[in-house]
């Protein structure tokens, strides 16, 4: 028994509680979810000691449900729309607030407050701001003469997706801005000094210096953004509950509805496993290429 292995035994003991916890509350539920997705788990069977197995029946009914392609499409639009706007605006703000002028730190700090407020609060406040008849947004748009009648931001099935994306972008900008600011502060300054001497224009500097140097940060932010947008639930649930007429039913919402509105937990588990497969791909890609932990397996 060397010093090293005695050390290792102590470190293993230290790690044991966290590992037991991870096994019990992350690994076991995931395994259990797979099992559940193969069972008939409804109000009728849930109390039975052993719920009947139905093979891939739940997957078959989920995949053949007309709401499956709908929720996939909603997930895609919601994720792409949110990522695009929160990234572009977040990047613009990061560049803008990176300059030295009075108030820049103060403004940056204020924006971060948007992230601290829970999604449930953000969703509630935006529901009120986007209210069709009495919301501030419609009032301002009407006063400015941009629209004649109030827009049904959350009540019109053709527009509701835009309404929830606006709220989610507002919530997502602080995080994007913060990570991109972190990337900007790590850039070498001498390259810019050299470019200044050469008389490079600000636009050229952005496209030929900043963007290429920021590539790793941009990749990480987009990847993390995708992972975190794919799993949005609270904000959508409080704003629209997936409505009107399934206009905002993303995969997480549909899975939740199957489990807790229709109490078909087997189908809910199957739907969430489809999301799991999508997310694990993005997660592993992120860890492989962008994680700061330097994972190279």
């Amino acid at each position: 028994m060397g010093f090293e292995s005695r050390n290792n035994r102590f470190y293993m003991k230290m790690m044991l509680p966290a590992i037991v916890f991870l096994a019990a509350l992350v690994v076991y539920p995931i395994v259990y979810n797979f099992r559940l997705s193969l069972q008939d788990a409804t109000l009728r069977t849930i109390r039975l000691p052993e719920m009947p197995f139905v093979g891939l029946g739940n997957y078959a009914s989920v995949l053949s449900n007309p709401l499956f392609p709908v929720s996939m499409a909603r997930t895609l639009v919601f994720t792409a729309g949110s990522i695009f706007f929160q990234f572009v605006i977040g990047f613009a703000l990061a560049l803008f607030l990176f300059r030295q002028f009075p108030l820049n730190k103060f403004v940056r700090t204020t924006i971060i407050m948007g992230w601290v407020l829970a999604p449930i609060i953000v969703g509630t406040v935006w529901s009120w701001l986007l209210n069709t008849d009495h919301g501030l947004i419609n009032y301002l748009l009407k006063t400015a003469g941009i629209i004649g009648q109030g827009i049904g931001w959350l009540t019109d099935p053709n527009i509701a997706m835009r309404g929830v994306i606006i709220a989610n972008v507002w919530f997502g900008i602080p995080f994007n801005m913060l990570l991109l600011t972190g990337g900007l502060s790590a850039l070498p300054t001498d390259v810019y000094e050299a470019a200044d001497i050469d008389g490079t224009s600000p636009l050229q500097k952005f496209f030929f210096i900043t963007l290429p140097l920021m590539k790793p940060t941009i990749g990480a932010v987009l990847m993390l953004g995708t992972i975190y947008t794919l799993r949005v639930f609270d904000l959508l649930w409080v704003m629209t509950k997936g409505g009107p007429v399934n206009a905002t039913t993303t995969l997480p919402l549909w899975s939740y509805q199957l489990s807790f509105d229709f109490f078909n937990l087997g189908e809910g588990a199957a739907a969430s496993n489809i999301l799991f497969v999508i997310m694990i791909v993005f997660t592993l890609l992120y860890i492989k290429f962008f994680s700061e932990e330097g994972w190279d397996a």
């Binding site: 509680p17 916890f21 509350l25 992350v26 803008f96 002028f101 009075p102 995080f175 953004g225 397996a297």
Partner: protein, 276 residues
């Protein structure tokens, strides 16, 4: 034009900054102000920027009805954060120091766990807690919340422990103090800033969590403020002033945490690269 722009650059930047500032302050301001308006004034057109006759009585009523919910929120946030700190500190330390071929695989498990959606866990945990008779019990919600705060804490604190030199611990060992004592009294105080970061983020997340208490706590007396707010919207759909008052009350603890620990929040987000 160009020289004019250059001359007034600082002014221009400040003006744009103020617009951005307004985009983030206005929704929060509107929430608070709407919460103090009377049931008629809330629907006034044009909307009033400042309540003409603030209805403190109605706000006070909402506040009173929110108190039991806030109490639940505090209980859940406190215990979830306590669990997170204990498991995060010990687990992060072990993971930083352990040198085996398994270490990186364990780290990978925590990294994946941190990114998994809660929707994936809510259905199986519901059945598991149902069978264990833990529904309508704070324990179920605290454990479920810790299932995403603990991986974050382990990863963040592991990074902090990795940066510490090991000779301090070795010196303490030669001194004859126990390993766990040296961890507790020598190593832990050195990562105090990171412990504050982890506690702050964990408090924000567990206080703001919605899906687990929504699904596991059907007993209204136990529901936290996030679920209370959600119920309130359903019940008070025409009384937006009361809904906004409830939202203001719910947001208040988060705003206080933000004002006290904003530096730590920023560090926690950038160091861990985490969002919620």
């Amino acid at each position: 034009m160009r020289s004019l722009l250059r001359k007034h650059r600082r002014l221009l930047l400040t003006v744009i900054a103020l617009i951005v500032f307004a985009l983030y302050v206005l929704p929060i301001y509107w929430m608070i102000v709407s919460g103090f308006k009377s049931p008629t004034e809330i629907y006034a057109i044009p909307p009033t920027l400042w309540p003409r006759n603030a209805s403190f009585l109605e706000f006070w009523e909402v506040l009173k009805s929110a108190i039991p919910y806030l109490k639940s929120s505090f209980i859940i946030a406190f215990f979830a954060t306590a669990v997170t700190l204990v498991l995060g500190a010990t687990g992060g330390y072990g993971l930083a120091r352990l040198k085996t071929k398994w270490t990186r695989w364990i780290l990978l498990c925590f990294l994946i766990a941190q990114m998994l959606p809660n929707i994936l866990r809510v259905t199986p945990l519901f059945v598991i807690f149902l069978k264990a008779n833990l529904l309508n019990n704070y324990v179920s919600v605290i454990l479920a919340i810790a299932s995403f705060t603990v991986p974050f804490a382990v990863i963040t604190l592991r990074t902090a422990f990795l940066a510490l030199p090991t000779d301090l611990e070795e010196a303490a060992l030669i001194d004859g103090s126990g390993r766990f004592r040296s961890f507790l009294y020598i190593v832990l105080p050195l990562v105090k800033p990171h412990l504050i970061i982890v506690s702050t983020i964990s408090l924000i997340w567990s206080y703001g969590d919605f899906i687990f208490p929504l699904s596991f706590l059907r007993n209204r007396a136990m529901q936290p403020a996030t679920v209370g707010l959600y119920n309130f919207i359903g019940a008070e759909v025409v009384h937006w002033n009361r809904v906004m008052a409830f939202a203001t009350v719910t947001a208040l603890p988060l705003m206080i945490i933000f004002m006290l620990f904003q530096r730590h929040i920023v560090q926690g987000l950038t160091v861990g690269g985490v969002d919620k």
